[in-house]
Structures are given as C-alpha cells and as structure tokens.
C-alpha cells in the first residue's frame, strides 16, 4: 500500500562516496530486487530506506511523505535481515510480538496478529520455542513473521536466503513468492546477489554498479536488452561472451567482422552509415551459441574444456590471448568427442548484442 520514491539519493561516509544520484520510483504492490556485485551499495541503499543509515543526499518519500528524518519505526517498513536477527532470549511468539508490545497494542490484538502470521508461515507448532531450537529455514520464517505482524507498507529483505543451504533456499524462495501472492498490496524490496532469486522473484530488477543504477527493468528486459556491457555480463550464467568486432555494413541489419575468430555475423540491430568501421564488442550469450558449418560465424576455435551436465554441455574455447575470459557455448543435450576439435559457432542475428564504449547500440 505504498509508493516509494527515491530522488537523487546518495550516500557518503566522509569523503568516500558509495552511492549517488539514485532515482527510483517503486509502485504499490511491486517487488523490486536490488542486485549488484559485492560492495556496490545495494545493502546500504536498503538500510537507507529502512532508516538504519542516514541519507546524505537526495530525498526518500513514502506515500508522498518525506522520510529522510523519520525514525525507522515510523516509516511503515519492516526488515528481514540476512542473519535473521532474532532476539535469542525470546520465544518465537515473543519475537513476533515484540514490536506490537512496544507499540502498546492490546493483548488480544497482539495474539491475533501473531496467530495469523504463524498460520501463514506454518509456525504454529513452534511458537513457544526459542530461536536456538529452530532450523535455519524456520528461523528465517520467524524473521519474516516478525515483519508480517507489523503490517508494514514496505517489506525490506536483506539477502534473506544467503544463510540457507541450497535446497532450503529454493524452498524458501518459493515461499516468499507465495507470500507475495498472498499479500498483493505489499510493496517489497529485496536485496540479493543471487541472480536466480532476482530473476524469479522480481517484478523489476535494479542493477547497481559503480555507485549508480546501471539499469532498472523487468527481469526479461534486463536479460534480452541489457543497456550496458556490465548488465549484460552480470545477468545470465555463464556470463555473456564479448568478442571484439568491427561494423562492416550498416543498415536495418548490421554486418560485423570479428577479427579474432576470422568470421562475419549479422545482428538485428539498426546502425547508421557513419557507424561503418566502428569498433564494437559483440555480445552473445553462451546459450545462444550454435555450432555451424557455414561461412557466417562469430567464432572459430579449439575446444579446451567440455563440461557435460547432462541437460546441457558447456564448451570452453581456447582464446588467442589468454588474458581474455574464455568463450563459452552452452549447447542443449549431450555432446561427446568435442575436446580438442576446432568448432565454428554462430548465433541467431536477433540474439546478438552490440556494445560501443560499454553501452548497448540498441539503447542509444
């Protein structure tokens, strides 16, 4: 039930600037995920929204009210911490009830809110246990329950799944998705470094890099139409291949020469006549690479490593210069006997990305 607006928000610790010029509108009921490399300030931004860190530049509005100097408890937010941050000396019930007790709610109100949250999260059998008697997943549910009982306008999740083991992470991720479904009016902001979480949960992903927002948009848009090389390589695994190339023919469809592999390839990206001869990076996702015998190819090289995962086979190609990241192709199904072979790879022109000076030619 809340619109959240960040305008020119920045954060600096003394002379060190960690975030600047963050502009972002988050609508009611939206689930926005902040992703980015370690140290990009995504958790800091979340903590600024929570009120645990001071906002040193710009404004934060929630429902049109400036929140910069409002104490955390009155911002209408609730936060779920990475380490759960349960009060170790209190039972599950008391953990969830604490904020309501502080707010001097009546006994009946508190009990009703706690029971309701416990039912939603299947925590009823554990209400009288101490946190130390719970498993990691149960603790995380209690942390979420503690947020739910406050009935906040905005939920803030700070890497809530990163302390769980792989299987539990998937299960809890689905639970969070169901929770969102059950509370369509709640706005949620979720910080993670796990792009699967980001892709599956988000209505919109915000990629933070180099103190700023690199790109904000629906998950598939970030995957299909990344604005920058950074976003292109950050979203998707293994990361997008980048090959040095040159624009050979401009037009509705651009033709490219790739000196390293010795081939040429087409891209469904319009270019202008004056672009001819421009140095670009040609981006192709590993999963878009296709083996070919034709003359239209992006890369030809010897296969150095073959990873057979059953569902897919990943090929790592030798590169002419060892300091470059290996070119990777992800082929569906099982392929054997490719090790040491010279293979030509190409891609559908619609799946080829072009970057000049780090920015996509699609978005200029």
């Amino acid at each position: 039930m809340a619109d959240l607006r960040l305008k020119g928000v920045g954060k600096s610790y003394g002379a060190v600037e960690v975030l600047k010029d963050i502009d972002l509108d988050i609508g009611t009921g939206e689930l926005v995920v902040f992703v980015g490399p370690s140290g990009c300030g995504k958790s800091t931004l979340l903590r600024m929204i929570a009120g645990l860190e001071k906002i040193t530049a710009g404004t934060l509005d929630i429902d049109g009210v400036a929140m910069n100097d409002v104490p955390p408890a009155q911002r209408g937010i609730a936060m779920v911490f990475q380490s759960y941050a349960l009060y170790p000396h209190m039972s599950v019930r008391d953990n969830m009830a604490f904020s309501l007790k502080i707010a001097r709610k009546t006994r009946a109100e508190i009990d009703a809110a706690v029971e309701k949250a416990a039912r939603m999260l299947q925590l009823e059998p554990y209400l009288d246990r101490l946190p130390k008697a719970l498993s990691g997943g149960q603790r995380q549910r209690v942390a979420i329950g503690r947020a739910i009982v406050r009935d906040p306008k905005v939920y803030l999740f700070d890497e809530p799944l990163s302390n769980l083991d792989a299987a539990l992470r998937v299960a809890t991720r689905i639970e969070i998705a169901q929770l969102k479904e059950a509370m369509p009016q709640s706005t949620m902001i979720y910080v993670t470094h796990d792009q699967v979480e980001a892709m599956t949960l988000a209505d919109r992903i915000v990629v933070l890099a180099d103190k700023r927002i690199a790109q904000a948009g629906p998950p598939l848009e970030l995957y299909q139409r990344p604005m920058t090389e950074f976003v292109a390589q950050f979203i998707g695994s293994p990361a997008m291949n980048l090959l040095a190339g040159e624009i050979a023919e401009a037009g509705e469809v651009t033709r490219l020469r790739l000196p390293e592999g010795g081939g040429t390839i087409a891209a469904d990206i319009p270019t202008r006549p004056d672009d001819v001869g421009r140095k670009v990076n040609v981006g192709i996702r590993p999963e878009d690479m296709v083996a070919t015998d034709g003359d239209d190819y992006a890369y030809e090289g010897r296969v150095e490593i073959v990873e057979a995962l059953g569902e897919v086979t990943q090929l790592y190609f030798e590169r002419s210069r060892p300091e470059h990241d290996p070119v990777i192709a992800k082929l569906p199904g099982v392929h054997t006997g490719l090790r040491g072979e010279a293979v030509r790879m190409t891609a559908d022109p619609a799946r080829v990305h072009l970057f000049a000076e780090g920015r996509s030619l699609l978005w200029r």
Binding site: A73, Q74, A85, P88, H89, F98, I102, R146
Partner: protein
C-alpha cells in the same frame, strides 16, 4: 651448598621426578602388571587403558587432596577443640559463636555486604560499559574506572580514609558538609549502621572496573542486527538496553555478580584497616581474624561458617560459567 645450586638441584629433581614418575609408572603398567603379551593379551590391554588415566591424574589429585580437601576436614576437626587445641569440646565453639552478639552483627553485616556490593558493582559496571561503548574517549574513561582494580585493598582503604577524614580540611565528606553549612566535622566511620555502607563504597569503587571490563566485552559480542531489528520494531534506547541487550548478556552478568560475591565474602582488609571491626562494622572475615592466634578453635569455626556460606554461591557460579562456555 649455595642457594643457587640448591635451586638448580630442586628444579632438576622436581622435573626429573615428574618424568620418572610418569615414565616409570607407565612402564610398570605396560610391562609388569598388564603385559601386552601372553594368553590374556586383549584383556590386559583393556585393563591397562582403564588404569592409565588414573595413573596420570594421581599426582594432581593427590596434591589437590592434600592442600584443598584435607584442610577442609582438618579445619572442621580443629574447630571441635578448645583454645588449647587438646580439649575436645564438640560443637562448643559453634555454640559460643551463635551466642556471641558480635558474631551475629558480623553475619548481618556480611549479609548486607553480599546484597549490596555485588549488585552495585555489577550495576555501575554495566552502566559504565554501555555509556562508554560508542564514545570516542570511551577507552580513556574505561581506563580511569578500571584503575582502582590495580590498588590493593589496604591502599584503597588508606585513600578513602582521607575522603572520610574527621576534618573538613582533609576529608571530602566533611568538606561538603561544611560547605553546606554544618558546624562541626563528624567521624563518618562512627555513624551507626550507615558506616557499613561507607565501607562498602570502597569495595564497589574497586570492583566496578572489573564488572565494566567483562560486561563491556559481552556487550560488544551482541549481534548488531538484533539491535537494529529492535530499532525497526520501534524500541527506544532504554527498551533496547533493558529488553534486548541485558537479557542477551544475562549469563555474563550472573558470572560477574557471583564472582564479586566470593570476593565480598573473603574481604577483610577494608574493615580491618578502616575500623578494625569497631562501631558495629564487624564482618565474618575480620571477626575470624580477631580470634586468630588467640583461640584457633573459634577462628576455624568462623572459617568453616564462611565456607558453608560461600559454597552454594560457588556451585551456582561454576554452573553458570559452564553454561556460558557452551
């Protein structure tokens, strides 16, 4: 033999004796008592391994028994004898104790000390630890509060003798009284009943530093997120302190409290130096001292009473400390 040579010989004999004991006893066990050969080889190895820990523990157990367990029994035995040490008088010493007015005063005073000093020292230590936690000059403040720990009880008592001096030109208390318009200086140490508390202040002053250092470390160990979660839950600083932080370090608080309690039950120097137990300030240890060398039977009886009082606190302390370790 020069003392230096004596020392060397002692060290060589001591260390050599230890090595000889462990090596020889082990050898005896393995080769002679339960040799690992012959028809009963399996049984012999098992038995040797059952005996071995006791073999190695024996010296420590023996020394502990000699210097800790035996004295307890010995003291109790001695306390059943009269002044000359030859006449058995049964529980006569204890009867005399409980009939003695001064002993009852000492028990009541000791009870007051045990109630007030650990509570006050822990409380002030906790407050000091919390208040100095985030301060830029917090470490300087902590050092100053900790300093009295480095002073002996007698030294501290001498300092406080000045504070309590019966002279407005020397004593702080009387200077303040005079400043507020009092005509004559009073001897603070002779104010009935309250003089006990003035003595306790000295020990509180010394022990606050100890409590502060331990509790400060415990406070630092509290996960920061629980405090942040409480901030978001709307708790004010007092609620965070008393409902989030203090409960999380309760185990440490109890250990600090009980540790100071032992100290209080043993302290005698302060009373001995300040009042000598006069003016109704007697406590058990100084009461015991007053009988020492005059009537050892009576003195050991007091010692035994003190031990009985300390025992339950000590058991509780050990249990708590173990819980903390886990």
């Amino acid at each position: 033999m020069t003392p230096l040579l004596q020392g060397l010989v002692t060290i060589v004999l001591g260390v050599g004796g230890c090595i000889a004991y462990f090596y020889g006893a082990n050898l005896l066990l393995d080769k002679v008592l339960f040799p690992a050969r012959g028809p009963k080889i399996g049984r012999n190895i098992t038995r040797a391994n059952m005996v071995r820990p006791w073999l190695f523990l024996f010296p420590a157990l023996f020394v502990l028994g000699l210097y800790l367990a035996y004295p307890v029994v010995g003291s109790f035995w001695r306390s059943l004898y009269g002044r000359d040490g030859d006449s058995f008088i049964g529980l006569g010493n204890y009867q005399a104790l409980f009939a003695d007015e001064t002993f009852r005063t000492a028990v009541v005073n000791n009870l007051l000390w045990v109630l007030v000093v650990p509570a006050a020292a822990t409380f002030f230590g906790l407050i000091a630890a919390q208040l100095t936690d985030r301060l830029s000059w917090g470490n300087i403040a902590k050092s100053i509060i900790f300093m009295p720990m480095a002073i002996s009880f007698v030294g501290a008592s001498l300092i406080w003798k000045f504070v309590y001096a019966n002279d407005a030109d020397i004593g702080l208390i009387n200077a303040i009284r005079t400043g507020l318009g009092a005509d004559e200086a009073v001897d603070v140490m002779q104010v009935p009943f309250w003089n006990n508390f003035f003595l306790m202040v000295i020990l509180i002053w010394i022990q606050t530093g100890f409590a502060m250092v331990i509790l400060s470390a415990a406070l630092r160990g509290i996960p920061e997120e629980t405090v942040e979660a409480a901030i978001i839950d709307g708790a004010n600083p007092f609620q965070i302190f008393f409902r989030i932080k203090v409960p999380q370090i309760m185990g440490t608080i109890v250990v600090v409290w009980t540790t100071i309690t032992f100290l209080v039950l043993k302290v005698f120097d302060i009373v001995y130096t300040m009042t000598g137990g006069n003016f109704g300030t007697q406590i058990l240890p100084s009461y015991m001292m007053s009988y020492m060398f005059r009537d050892d039977g009576r003195a050991t009886a007091v010692a035994f009473v003190i031990m009985l009082i300390v025992l339950p606190v000590m058991v509780w302390n050990i249990l708590q400390a173990r819980k903390e370790l886990r």
